[in-house]
Symmetry: C2
Subunit: 366 residues, 2 copies
């Protein structure tokens, strides 16, 4: 069955509402000046004390505290000016549909004699703008450097200049299509896939494509390349929300793998100001600590750093129940970890022939 | 003008000759056993004292010393057996056209009760097999984990199972096509491009595609993602040798960028046993140390580590003349470095509007 997206043009709609939002902020500044007031911005506070876990949203969010960047306060004038310029620059990037990176913005500021001490300072102001607009920076066209890849039956339609209206199907190049600014801003049109499998490693991505996982299990396969880049997380969310596809995550069987899955599912504390970087219904299906014994996998001993990381995550509210808690406890008990490649002990296709079908079956009742 | 590759099917030819080579090595082992001798392998020595720089080949090569792995010598029996097994496994991967990684091979050995202490030991035996066959491991289908991306008018024809004979043009997905096992084993068919531009960073790759560098300058654009993965270096070599395209390299303006370019051009000392991982005619066109003043780029001070790295490279025979020496000397004099993004100070498209055309013009007389 072919699924079609209901949305008209998600990309266009979001761009228009972002530009509207920026215009409104600009009008407020002009309004203040016209009526003789010092303009200021009010943004949600991102201090640790204002980050709380929201059980219904299943992610960290910001509380109700706000911070002010006022042009009336000499200690805030610098950050007010930086934020004002960034809003202007973001508006221009969005209107012209030009892509940039965090690093580009830092250097671009020098063209306008805007003073940033270093890139850390400009990065911070970019997060302020995200918080003020409640929009991810990718929406105002500041994209991550890193690339991941996707392969599977998905029809998309580009929205970037020069490619507007051009359609593409993502199942013809088996090494995968890079997930960059064109793909994350494309409209998702239709798919015959019934699920998305996100996998942590390029080698396994290739294995899955070679073994026809995409057609055997009607899947779109995404290589996250370790911790999934933000645009890949957005792309996974869209596949889930717009196309209605369940998202299954496979990682190495260690505490970092478990957390890679958690970040895809519920974001990270330092993106608590955003709602669009999570896939709350995504399921981490392995490699679990309990799989290590069940599948008799070759293991590696956990290091002291691994064990410390386990204890740290046990304090995180998201790891208090279900498989998240259970698997951390088993890791701490067995003090061993196993990689996705460990299945190769039983043949290169063991992971796709035996493990994957068992896990996909199990995912239905999880 | 459309260039066509003269080669019939490079992929098929190389696969057949590799299988022939493996068969010959196997026959020698059987021959020894049949005539009552202990079988052994002779491989070029990879010890530092046997690595020499070859001026005519413009790369490091191995000298004439050889090392023996004999089943008659108890201290060599272990490595002989490991190499024997690996040759068998490589043969199987090549025949079945299955991809694997260094890590896969390590775990796969366990299925055959072949004892490797750790992955470092199996990696080392893989390099032994490369040296013995004078073939890169990608040819016996052990691929790197990392991906880079390519975009531009290039028609290819896949040779992997399930895609044999399928054609693809690499100019429809602006985020780029991942360079993995399918692409590096594909036959290159034709192109209207007149050059290849290899660039170090994903953000700049996107900029180049957005600004239509591929059509304005008739270029195939490759994102190396930092140090180019081995399969990407092979792909660049093939674009140069089989399609006759000049290769231009752009990196950050620092000692690491200069060395990224050098490794694409002439390989690394630890791949001295291979001939197929270099692009001797590739040209590093920037960012040069001399560009920093010429283009008034914002800079960052070099660290002590940067300066030490400069002094180390000055001892390398490849850095004794031409721009390689000149630019190192200027870096050491100004003690400052600049990134590709630094051009954004003069506008996001300054690098494609001004810098690139000047550099492409200069490359003609270099």
């Amino acid at each position: 069955m072919v699924k079609k997206s209901k949305a008209k043009s998600v990309a266009k709609e979001r761009q228009e509402s972002l530009l509207e939002l920026l215009r409104k902020k600009g009008e407020e500044v002009y309004g203040d000046i016209d009526s003789g007031k010092y303009p200021k911005f009010s943004i949600p506070s991102r201090s640790v004390s204002n980050i709380v876990y929201d059980k219904s949203l299943r992610q960290y969010i910001l509380g109700s505290n706000t911070a002010v960047r006022s042009s009336h306060n000499t200690s805030q004038l610098r950050s007010f000016t930086q934020l004002m310029w960034l809003a202007f620059f973001a508006n221009r990037l969005t209107m012209e549909k030009k892509s940039s990176t965090l690093r580009d913005v830092y250097y671009s500021s020098q063209a306008f004699a805007i003073d940033f001490e270093n890139q850390a300072e400009s990065d911070n102001i970019i997060v302020d703008l995200e918080a003020m607009l409640a929009r991810a920076r990718e929406e105002f066209r500041i994209f991550p450097e890193e690339r991941s890849a996707v392969f599977g039956d998905l029809d998309i339609e580009y929205t970037i200049p020069g490619y507007e209206g051009k359609k593409m199907n993502l199942s013809n190049h088996p090494d995968g299509y890079a997930v960059g600014s064109s793909l994350t801003t494309a409209d998702l049109i239709s798919t015959s896939a019934e699920m998305v499998i996100a996998i942590e490693k390029g080698g396994l991505f290739t294995r899955f494509v070679e073994e026809n996982v995409h057609s055997k299990f009607k899947a779109i396969i995404v290589d996250t390349g370790g911790q999934a880049p933000r645009s890949t997380r957005t792309f996974l969310r869209r596949l889930n929300k717009e196309m209605g596809l369940p998202v299954i995550i496979l990682t190495d069987g260690d505490v970092y793998g478990e957390h890679i899955a958690m970040v895809i599912k519920s974001g990270s504390a330092n993106a608590a100001h955003l709602r669009e970087l999570t896939v709350p219904d995504a399921k981490w299906m392995g490699v679990w600590a309990t799989d290590i014994e069940k599948y008799k996998l070759p293991t590696i001993p956990m290091t002291d750093a691994d064990i410390k990381r386990c204890h740290d995550l046990k304090k995180d509210p998201r790891y208090q129940k279900g498989i998240w808690k259970r698997e951390l406890d088993v890791f701490l008990k067995i003090k061993r970890k196993a990689e996705l490649e460990a299945f190769s002990k039983y043949g290169l296709t063991n992971i796709t022939d035996k493990y994957l079908p068992a896990k996909l079956e199990a995912s239905k009742s999880l």
